[in-house]
Symmetry: C2
Subunit: 222 residues, 2 copies
C-alpha cells in the first residue's frame, strides 16, 4: 500500500517534469536545480552567478524554502524576477510546484532560471523538476565524508561545487578525495572549487553555465 502510493507520486512527478521540459524547450529557458545542505551557500552562489551572467543573459530565480522569504528578498534586490516557493514542511521541491510557479514568469524574457531547492542532501536528489542541470553544493565546513554518506545527491549532479573554499584553512577537508569519490559514482561530473569571499571558481562556473545557456538557445533556434 505504502509503496504503491510512493510510486504514484513518482510517476506523477515524472509526467509533470516532462511537461515542464517541453515548456522550457519551447521558450529556450535553461533551468538549473541548485541543491545542497542548509547553509551550503546556495543563495549566495545564485546571487554571485546572476551578477556575472546578467550582462549577457536574462536570469530568473525560484527560491524554495520550507518557510519564510528571506532568500527571495535577497534575490529581489538584484532586480531579477523571483518567486518564493514555500513547501510548508516538505523537504524537497516537486515538479508540480514548479509547474504552478512557471506562469508567474514571462518565459520569453528568461534565458536561465535558477531553482534553489530546499536545504537537504537527501530528498531533492530523488525528484526531477524538469531541470536541464543539477548543481550539488558541498561546503567545506560540512566535512569531507558526505559523498559516502549521501551518494545519490553526488551521483545525479551535473556539477559539484565545493563551496566556501576559503574555509579550507580551518577545516581538515580532503577535496581531492571528495572529487575522486564523486567521479567514481558519476564520471562525467564537473567539479568546481568556489568561494564567494575570495572569488575562486565563480568566473569558471559562470562561463560553464553561459555555454550551457547558449547551447540550449541555439538548439531551440536551429
Amino acid at each position: 500500500m505504502e509503496i504503491k502510493v510512493i510510486r504514484q507520486i513518482m510517476e506523477w512527478n515524472e509526467d509533470c517534469s516532462a511537461e515542464i521540459k517541453e515548456l522550457l524547450k519551447k521558450n529556450s529557458v535553461l533551468m538549473v536545480n541548485i541543491m545542497g545542505s542548509p547553509g551550503a551557500g546556495k543563495t549566495s552562489l545564485i546571487i554571485e552567478l546572476a551578477a556575472r551572467l546578467k550582462p549577457s543573459f536574462r536570469v530568473g530565480v525560484i527560491e524554495g524554502d520550507v518557510a519564510g522569504q528571506i532568500d527571495a528578498l535577497r534575490i529581489a534586490k538584484l532586480n531579477l524576477p523571483v518567486v518564493q516557493l514555500n513547501t510548508a514542511g516538505a523537504c524537497h521541491i516537486e515538479a508540480m510546484s514548479i509547474k504552478h510557479i512557471l506562469p508567474y514568469f514571462d518565459l520569453q524574457q528568461v534565458d536561465v532560471l535558477f531553482v534553489e531547492n530546499i536545504g537537504n542532501l537527501v530528498c531533492p536528489a530523488e525528484f526531477n523538476i524538469g531541470e536541464d542541470l543539477r548543481l550539488a553544493l558541498l561546503s567545506i565546513p560540512e566535512g569531507d565524508d558526505k559523498v559516502e554518506k549521501y551518494p545519490l545527491m553526488f551521483s545525479v549532479a551535473d556539477a559539484l561545487v565545493i563551496h566556501k573554499y576559503d574555509m579550507k584553512t580551518y577545516f581538515a577537508f580532503d577535496d581531492i578525495m571528495v572529487e575522486a569519490q564523486t567521479k567514481a559514482i558519476n564520471p562525467l561530473v564537473n567539479v568546481f572549487r568556489a568561494s564567494i569571499i575570495q572569488g575562486d571558481g565563480l568566473a569558471e562556473l559562470a562561463t560553464w553555465l553561459g555555454a550551457k545557456i547558449t547551447a540550449k538557445n541555439i538548439m531551440q533556434n536551429s
Copy 2:
C-alpha cells in the same frame, strides 16, 4: 488519498514510539535524539559527550546514515556499544527502525542511548522515535537564518546547540537573534554554545544530560 496514507504512517510511528518509550522506561535508559544538518558536527559532539559521561554513566549509540558506516567506526573506537542504521535512501529515522535495533543492545547495561539522526533539518523533526530528549544542532557556518527557514526543528528541540562556536570569528552569525527566535517558538528550550575545538559548552551540556540521565534512573527505581 495521499493525506490518508501519511496519517497511517504517522499513527503507526506513534504506536511504535510508545512501545519504545515503555521498553526504555523499564530499563531506565534515557534516549537522546541528535538532529541537525549534514556536517553540523553531530558525531563529533556525541564522541565528546560520551567521553565526558563515560566515567559516571553507561553510554550506547545508534548511528543513522543514509549509507555507509563511517560514523559507527568512529564511535566504535571509544569501546561503546554502537549500531549503524542505514536508511537506504530515507531522509529520517522512524520509530520502527529503532524498535528493530534495540534488541542488539543489552539495555540493562545502558544508561543513555544517543541516536544520531540523518543529517537533515526538516523530516527528522516530524517523527518521534521514542526519545526522551531532542537536541537540535545548528553550526555557525550554516548561517543564522535557519530558525526562520526550518521552524519545526527548532520548535521541537529540548536543547539547541549552537555548534562550531569557534567559527564565530569568521562568519557573521547573530547567535543572540537565533536564541531569541528559537525561544519565541519554543520558550522552554535550553540553549548551549559549543565548540569541540575550543571546548566551550561541552561540560555544561554533559552536566545537563547527566542530570537528565540521573532523574530518569531515580524515577524508575522509586
